[in-house]
Assembly symmetry: C2
Homo-oligomer: 105 residues x 2
């Protein structure tokens, strides 16, 4: 479908993608964690609740990442998890490593 | 309005009330914090996203508590805040004190 193509395109084009919801504290927390790194190019943020077809986007993300919740963070085309995973990786230094490997840090 | 009467009634009848959203991690966190206390009678939980008029409920809560977000935790008729406030009070022991004063612990 064209939504699937659109989202796959975003995941392919941008090294770091955050699929987020504007009203969600967990999404806000994930954006805050990533904002503590000088990431270049900057992460691409899609606020899914503001899109035309949020449920179709969520379905596609569930198919490609096995994750049906938000936030959903992609690095180099793969989901690295949600807010809790990101917080853990930030705390133990593995996020820094991952971002370096991805060539954005 | 009858929604206002209904919600005011809930706040008056139940010592502890959690206004929550089923899909929300912050709401889940607040319910989890309170579940660590033997509260009797147990907290009354309203899942606002499952109600007929969630926006009207949110408006009323904003009027009586100055809080427009969820979760919103009431003790003895007054809002004590959201998930962050609850976590802080749980950590510093003031939640235990508050619950004792309310006569539920
Ligand atoms: N442990 C997960 C929790 C994710 C989660 O439960 N997200 C909720 C919002 S906080 C969700 O996506 N609910 C369904 C929805 O909003 O569509 C994380 O750290 O990201
Ligand atoms: N710091 C607040 C954050 C509350 C918050 O931002 N809640 C969000 C959901 S996580 C909200 O209510 N957004 C508007 C809505 O869902 O109607 C707390 O600890 O409770
Ligand atoms: S909607 Fe409340 S934490 Fe995500």
């Amino acid at each position: 479908t064209s939504i699937e193509n659109e989202i796959q395109d975003i995941i392919d084009k941008h090294k770091i993608v955050i699929f987020s919801k504007t009203y969600c504290s967990y999404s806000r927390r994930a954006k805050h964690v990533l904002s503590q790194y000088f990431i270049s190019p900057r992460p691409h943020i899609m606020e899914v609740d503001l899109e035309d077809k949020p449920n179709e986007i969520a379905s596609f993300l569930k198919n490609v990442s096995s994750r049906s919740t938000f936030p959903n963070i992609f690095v180099s085309g793969h989901s690295i998890g949600g807010s809790d995973e990101l917080a853990e990786m930030h705390a133990d230094g593995s996020l820094k490593e991952l971002l370096k490997k991805a060539g954005v840090l």
